[in-house]
């Protein structure tokens, strides 16, 4: 069965929602979302730590969407805006869940999946070494961090990258990434 966006978005929007967005990922959208996240996660000492982690993960997740979202599948270009992405931030227990989603061309999946699996298989010391290696040896593109974003997220949260690729049509999949952040 092919990917049904509305069903996916409904499912994402369960629980105690702080931010829920579907549409163009623009600089302005990023600024507004960061502002909401910062003001909605409280001021208690435990929450300050959590807020910092959430803020960091939000910056990297949103900028990943901003830089890497593919053009939309032809048949839905009318239905969704260009540069389309999904962001949902929700409270779950004492932590926060951040879900991002975007369409991705089929031929890019393998590279991304290999990268996600590699990061997920690494321990803290390996991640630190990989981060420092990329930082010091790899030339960054204008697009940004040379792939440091995902490594940074895992280093700061200590969780795995929970992802799915759902088939939309021959050329496109929908990539969804869940990140849980706890104190």
């Amino acid at each position: 069965m092919s990917f049904n966006f509305d069903a996916y978005y409904r499912k994402m929007n369960t629980g105690d929602i702080i931010v829920s967005y579907k549409g163009s990922i623009t600089t302005e959208m990023i600024n507004n979302t960061l502002e909401i996240v910062e003001s909605r996660i409280g001021e208690s000492p435990e929450d300050v730590r959590l807020r910092k982690k959430v803020y960091n993960v939000m910056v990297e997740s949103l900028q990943n969407l901003y830089h890497h979202t593919d053009e939309l599948p032809e048949d839905i270009r009318g239905e969704f805006e260009g540069h389309f992405g999904v962001v949902v931030v929700a409270r779950e227990g004492s932590g926060i869940r951040i879900t991002t989603g975007n369409f991705i061309k089929s031929d890019k999946i393998k590279r991304l999946k290999d990268k996600l699996d590699k990061i997920n298989s690494m321990g803290p010391d390996e991640l630190k070494d990989m981060y420092k290696f990329i930082l010091n040896h790899q030339k960054f593109s204008d697009k940004g961090g040379g792939g440091l974003g995902l490594i940074d997220i895992v280093r700061k949260t200590g969780t795995r990258l929970n992802y799915t690729f759902q088939n939309y049509n021959n050329d496109y999949y929908f990539f969804s990434l869940d990140i849980k952040i706890t104190n």
Binding site: N56, V59, Q63, K132, G144
Partner: protein, 126 residues
Amino acid sequence: MEPLIIEGTPKTPSVRFDAQQGLVEIKGRSIPENSIEFYKPLVDWLEKYGENPAPLTQVNVQLEYFNTSSSKCILDVFKKLEAIFKAKHDVVINWYYEEDDEDMLEAGEDYESIIRVPFKMVEIVD
């Protein structure tokens, strides 16, 4: 040499580079979508400053947040300072982090392990 002064914004840090005082200061948030554009004048200024630096260059980096796109640019700034240090001029990098912000401390330690310049980790206590 003219100082380089840039006001901070919600996504870019304030900058105060003063050749006469040997002061290099970056403070605030560094989370722009395009960091290269922001940091280019800083790296260029330091390149020129390196031709005739102060006997001691005090570097204060006090960031609340920085994104991975900025992390490479910050390394480029530090590499310019490393060149000054290697040319036998004193350089000290003070890396400030808020109390309990282990992530920011660790980020400073990552740089310290890459850059051959003395670092001081300074905890900011309220």
